[in-house]
């Protein structure tokens, strides 16, 4: 456990880091970054909490089973999204320009960047973000677990 200054700053910065990570994931098809980078930033927020607080507190807040479940859900969502366009080909983008979810019709030329576009790409970004968050979080939690055992 760190000093009170570190703990206060960690609990304040945690929410901001989470919001920034989800922003990177949600704007993955418009701006630099995407699923992997956003998931890594969110996992950094978890790492901040893990470093700042005691092991007994973290065990109640961050559950390892939740993180492994997030990893499995992300991978499943990615594969299901890829298979859903199997009528034409694997990973076929059948949602783009269709008028449905993430299917706003975009005309050719310069535009400011609409978030409700790009078809299946935002769904895949979200799936990869959840999967990377779960994977890196599990690495940190297992590291903390065994570091505690050694001591």
């Amino acid at each position: 456990m760190m000093s009170k200054i570190v703990r206060t700053q960690a609990s304040f910065l945690y929410t901001l880091i989470l919001i920034f990570g989800f922003y990177i994931v949600a704007h993955g098809h418009l701006t630099p970054g995407g699923g992997f980078q956003g998931g890594a930033v969110i996992a950094t927020g978890i790492a901040l909490i893990v470093v700042a607080y005691k092991f007994e507190n973290i065990k109640g807040w961050v559950k390892k089973s939740m993180l492994t479940t997030a990893e499995s859900i992300g991978l499943l969502a990615f594969i299901i999204t890829g298979i859903s366009g199997i009528g034409v080909s694997f990973f076929y983008n059948w949602l783009a320009n269709s008028g449905l979810l993430f299917g706003r019709v975009v005309h050719y030329g310069i535009n400011p960047g609409y978030i409700n576009t790009a078809g299946t790409l935002p769904i895949m970004n979200l799936a990869v973000g959840i999967e990377v968050l779960g994977g890196l979080g599990v690495i940190i939690m297992y590291f903390l677990h065994y570091a505690k055992e050694v001591k």
Binding site: G33, G34, V41, A43
Partner: protein
């Protein structure tokens, strides 16, 4: 143009200094902080070289996750480097 070249020169010198400090410190927590500064400066360098995608990955994993893992390792071992 001259400003960008000067900034890049400064960044490279600061990279070398922080890498040297990471080896030289005896307090391992200071080494970890120096490595975090090294990763942060490297991500700035990536951004100047117009690779913002790599810069975000470097800042998230290099400066965030590895620093946390090193601090967890120091917490469960000793903080000071021992001379053999």
């Amino acid at each position: 143009m001259i400003f960008a070249a000067l900034l890049q020169l400064l960044l490279l010198i600061a990279l070398m200094v922080s890498a040297y400090l990471a080896i030289k410190f005896k307090d391992l927590l200071n080494c970890v902080i120096a490595l975090g500064i090294f990763s942060f400066l490297l991500s700035l360098e990536f951004y100047i070289l117009q690779a913002p995608d790599v810069a975000i990955a470097e800042a998230g994993i290099g400066a965030g996750l590895t620093t946390a893992i090193f601090i967890l390792a120091i917490r469960s071992t000793s903080r000071w480097e021992v001379e053999e």
